[in-house]
């Protein structure tokens, strides 16, 4: 555990208490069973916003507490533990980061206070294929009058059904795969020509396919600079990846602890199965991996807070390491629980499904291992 300030410890403790009491895994189960198309419980998200969690990284002048990414990571770790479904990551971290890093005063004024208050949900609309590839942008933004006209489709848009505003990556020049010629746009969900369709994924969280058909936006919808949006997008993505890594760390820790409890209670051959060395050493390996992953996640979040030049390297390290760890732990959770872990009535399946969706989001392990090597020149 990173060395925390008193305020950070209080925030973490508050998040732990609230998630354990108000948002245990049974709450997620209830939401899933209800078929809620948003993929989260709006009442629960309102409570999170009231506690100030949606404003943690937002400057005070826009209604936030300017408390930093490590602090928001502490909250996300706790929500990850209980698989709390909410747009916290998409709106209060990803979209908020895009506005903080690239927004004009007017753009910030228009959206950050609403995001901080939990009144508006923002999200990134950046994926066009089954694999994370932020430079493979085909969605076209062509000059139209004083502004642009957007046409194309985005998939795997997290919280896409709830979003009131999208941060859309579009191509203003070049071809898909070029980093130059990518421009970020702020597009309200109610803009003419925007339509969305629920993307039903195995993890039951909120996701959508969002279509843009001749969506007219003004020049003031450009976030950052036209044609030069890729560097900004990478910065935003690194923040989102670090936050998601914290959430995944929490999920992995809880999956491990739930499994460890089972090893101590399940009796076969007249003894608890946790007495078997074959299982003990696998548990020790998972514990070791979790500790290593924690170091990477905390280092990435701290690097963002310090605006350190090694943010991209540390973020890719964190996403890959915590991805590998969650992958392993979620598989072992099912295997060590045996038959009961295969049943829908047990929580193990929730962790397994969430693991794979979270691994894929903002780039999986293979993507980030390759990126780590490219950053380091090999």
């Amino acid at each position: 555990m990173a060395v925390l300030t008193e305020e950070q410890s209080m925030l973490r403790d508050a998040a732990r208490t609230w998630t354990q009491e108000k948002s245990p895994v049974s709450a997620f189960r209830k939401m899933r069973d209800s078929g809620q198309p948003l993929g989260y419980d709006p009442a629960a998200f309102n409570e999170m916003a009231e506690m100030g969690w949606t404003g943690v990284i937002i400057p005070e002048e826009y209604g936030g507490s300017d408390f930093g990414y490590l602090s928001l990571g502490l909250v996300l770790e706790e929500t990850g533990r209980t698989l709390t479904a909410s747009p916290l990551l998409s709106t209060a971290l990803a979209a908020a980061s895009a506005l903080i890093l690239g927004g004009t005063a007017a753009q910030k004024e228009a959206w950050l206070p609403k995001i901080a208050a939990g009144e508006a949900v923002g999200t990134l609309a950046i994926e066009e294929g089954p694999h994370h590839a932020p430079e493979k942008v085909a969605l076209a933004a062509t000059k139209s009058g004083a502004g642009y006209s957007l046409s194309g489709k985005k998939t795997f848009v997290l919280e896409g059904m709830a979003a009131g505003v999208f941060v859309v990556s579009a191509r203003t020049s070049g071809k898909p795969g070029d980093k130059a010629g990518v421009t970020l746009f702020l597009v309200p969900a109610d803009a003419k020509g925007v339509s969305r369709k629920q993307l039903k994924l195995a993890d039951s969280r909120g996701a959508a396919i969002v279509s843009f058909e001749n969506v007219e936006v003004g020049a003031d919808a450009v976030l950052g600079e036209a044609d030069k949006g890729f560097d900004l997008l990478e910065k935003v993505l690194d923040r989102a990846r670090a936050g998601l890594s914290a959430e995944m760390l929490g999920s992995a820790i809880q999956a491990f602890e739930t499994t460890l409890d089972y090893l101590k209670t399940r009796v076969q051959f007249g003894q608890v199965i946790g007495a078997f060395q074959a299982l003990q050493h696998r548990a020790a390996k998972m514990f070791t991996d979790l500790e290593l992953a924690r170091s990477c996640v905390e280092a990435a979040l701290a690097a963002i807070d310090n605006d350190s030049p090694d943010v991209p390297e540390l973020v890719s390290l964190a996403k890959a390491k915590v991805g590998d760890t969650l992958h392993l732990v979620s598989n072992e959770m099912v295997q060590m629980h045996g038959g009961i872990g295969m049943t829908d009535a047990h929580d193990a399946g929730f962790y397994l499904k969430r693991a794979r969706a979270a691994e894929a989001a903002y780039g999986g392990q293979a993507y980030h291992r390759d990126r780590y090597a490219r950053i380091n020149g090999y």
């Binding site: 555990m1 990173a2 060395v3 460890l260 090893l263 101590k264 003894q271 608890v272 946790g274 007495a275 078997f276 060395q277 003990q280 050493h281 548990a283 020790a284 390996k285 514990f287 070791t288 500790e291 290593l292 992953a293 924690r294 170091s295 990477c296 905390e298 280092a299 390290l317 890959a320 390491k321 291992r369 390759d370 780590y372 090597a373 490219r374 380091n376 020149g377 090999y378």
Partner: protein, 407 residues
């Protein structure tokens, strides 16, 4: 010096001027293997540097001044290390005396023992070796059989030890002996034995990498004075466990760099070596997709281990108390070390398999020995399997499958 009334900057200035006055510039950057107890005759400069550091107590900077240590606060010791790094100076005082035995004796020894032994370690005057493992007592250390019989005014020791690193050069041995046959753990005592006694015979062991610092040690009717018993009779196991903690901390390599593997092998990262031995494609990637992906995974493991070592130090500094993370350091560090040696060998190809001769560069000859010698790091100091047992039992609270025969 422990009080922080003084300014840390003032200490830094003092350390800087003392180091510049006493560290011979010709020894710059020549630390490395010299710190490990060895047979190499020291040059006059090394002797002078060792003497100066010994007198100052800065070879063991945080040990109490009353016993010849530096008496520095941890923050001051860090500053000292930074200043040493800055000018390429290295600590000439090392070995098992400083890493394991000294800290243990400071905790468990009586006043006479501390006065007698600690200062000599701080001055690098007496070299120590470890008499723990026996041919029949490896991972199950507490089954050891070397016995010490009470003969009134002395103990009579008979038996044999194995893997006594540096035994052929050691002056003294801190040894686990059986003083009660009726109990396992509670029949073990912690005894200090003079290696120059005529009843002590040491035979070096040749390993798969060639010559090694490891020895077999035989004790035949060795008379050991009663005052050489550390702690209570039959109370040696507790002391041994504490000492093994010091050993593990030392072997995991703390500050990183490959965890224990740093003692072996060659410098440079597998990634950078692969760029020259394997080549790169037009995009600058290592030109072997499979090897590249395994190198990447290893480099990331290395970074994760280093970050964990930093986290552990930060936690220790903030006095949050010892955290569970320390328990994983040996396995995590040695995995990185072993993987690194394997990858370097593979990266070098057949040039990494040279045993001797001028067809191979010194780094290449070192790589094959580092690879072979490095296999020891997941075996000694408590094997990887024993570490996993410890994590399972002490951290995760799982039942002990070995029952009372374990510790």
């Amino acid at each position: 010096m422990a009080d922080f009334g003084g300014d840390i900057d003032a200490f830094r200035a003092d350390a800087k001027s003392w180091l510049e006055a006493n560290f011979p510039a010709s020894l710059k950057g020549k630390g490395g293997m010299m710190a490990i107890e060895g047979e190499t005759p020291d040059s006059a400069e090394v002797k002078a540097w060792t003497h100066a550091m010994g007198e100052k107590g800065w070879g063991v900077p945080t040990w109490p001044k009353a016993y010849g240590g530096g008496g520095l606060a941890p923050a001051e010791a860090r500053v000292l290390q930074q200043e040493m790094n800055r000018i390429g100076a290295w600590n000439p005082v090392g070995g098992m005396g400083t890493m394991m035995f000294g800290p243990t004796l400071l905790e468990y020894g009586n006043e006479e023992q501390k006065q007698q032994h600690i200062r000599a370690i701080a001055k690098q005057e007496v070299r120590w070796c470890q008499g723990f493992s026996e041919p029949g007592a490896g991972s199950d250390l507490a089954s050891l059989q070397t016995k010490a019989e009470d003969k009134g005014d002395h103990y009579l020791v008979n038996g044999s030890k194995i893997w006594t690193s540096g035994g052929q050069w050691a002056d003294m041995c801190f040894c686990l002996v059986r003083t009660d046959n009726t109990k396992k753990h509670e029949g073990i005592s912690f005894l200090l034995i003079d290696m120059h006694d005529p009843g002590v015979e040491v035979r070096p062991i040749k390993l798969i990498a060639g010559a090694s610092p490891f020895c077999e040690t035989f004790f035949t009717d060795v008379k050991v004075p009663k005052e050489n018993l550390v702690g209570p009779l039959n109370g040696g196991w507790t002391i041994a466990k504490r000492l093994l903690q010091h050993e593990r901390n030392g072997l995991s390599g703390g500050g990183g760099g490959g965890g224990g593997g740093g003692m072996f092998g060659v410098g440079g990262s597998p990634a950078s070596m692969a760029k020259s031995y394997v080549g790169v494609d037009e995009a600058g990637r290592i030109d072997d997709a499979d090897l590249r992906s395994r190198i990447i995974a290893h480099e990331m493991d290395t970074k994760a281990f280093q970050l964990t070592a930093f986290r552990m130090m930060a936690e220790a500094k903030s006095n949050q108390g010892p955290s569970a993370v320390t328990s994983i350091m040996k396995n995590a560090g040695t995995k990185v070390g072993i993987d690194r040696a394997e990858l370097i060998l593979e990266v070098m190809g057949t040039q990494g398999l040279g045993w001797e001769g001028d067809d191979f560069k010194p780094d290449e000859l070192q790589a094959v020995r580092g690879w072979l010698g490095g296999k020891a790091i997941t075996i000694f100091g408590g094997s990887a399997e024993i570490q996993n047992n410890i994590i399972s039992k002490r951290i995760l609270g799982l039942p002990d499958p070995l029952g009372p025969s374990s510790n």
